[in-house]
Amino acid sequence: MAVRVEHAPFDYGREAAAFERAAARAGAGAVVTFCGIVRDRPGGGLDCMEIEHYPGMTERALAGIEAEARHRWALSAALIVHRYGPMAPGETIMMVATAAPHRADAFQAAEFLMDYLKSRAPFWKKETGAGQAQWVAARDEDEAALSRWGDKAAPRPEGDAGKS
């Protein structure tokens, strides 16, 4: 039951291992982890991805999303770690982990966390490469992915679908 917003790189393998051991002690039978990695552009050329966030609201939004997941599923444990600041291609951006007695709950809760994180937590990505900087546009699929969970946890903000 932890939410962390950090600048420094974190060790995904170490986090996953510690989470799994704690989940085992809590009686979980199933652990799911997700981690996101900075992808280079299709032809290469990405120098940096910088993540801006809204200090204060970020922690609040992540804690709310995690609480909602724990309300919806019987989780033995849950974890969200998200970095901000500049990152190079290949670096680990963030991870979520969920644990439950059975796998269906662990998988659903992890996907729920990711769907909300993508579109309802105040992070913005900016890519720099080939001398140009560009804010990453929100993807319509990410907004659409939320609809499968119902509207309760995060009402759709007004405005058109998330193209910036």
Partner: protein, 83 residues
């Protein structure tokens, strides 16, 4: 009413400030946006396409018709791209 207004991502870049203190009597977010737009071309550019602007009131997501009574911090930003 005194408000702290925060800008993030390309709204911050267009306005060229991350925050400003605003004295306003605007009743809703929408009315506040109208007042801010009138401040000059930077603000007008930031709020040119409201379909691409999101708002949070005291760090909770809200809509443009939300009332401002009792609010202390208003943040404007583009659609979020976490994960």
């Amino acid at each position: 009413m005194k408000l702290t207004v925060l800008y993030f991502a390309w709204l911050r870049e267009r306005i060229a400030e991350p925050r400003e203190e605003v004295e306003t009597e605007a009743a809703t977010v929408g009315a506040l946006v109208e007042e801010l737009r009138a401040r000059g071309p930077r603000h007008a550019a930031a709020f040119a396409d409201m379909g691409a602007v999101r708002v949070a009131l005291d760090q909770d997501l809200a809509t443009m018709d939300a009332p401002l009574a009792g609010v202390r911090e208003v943040a404007f930003f583009p659609p979020m791209t976490g994960g």
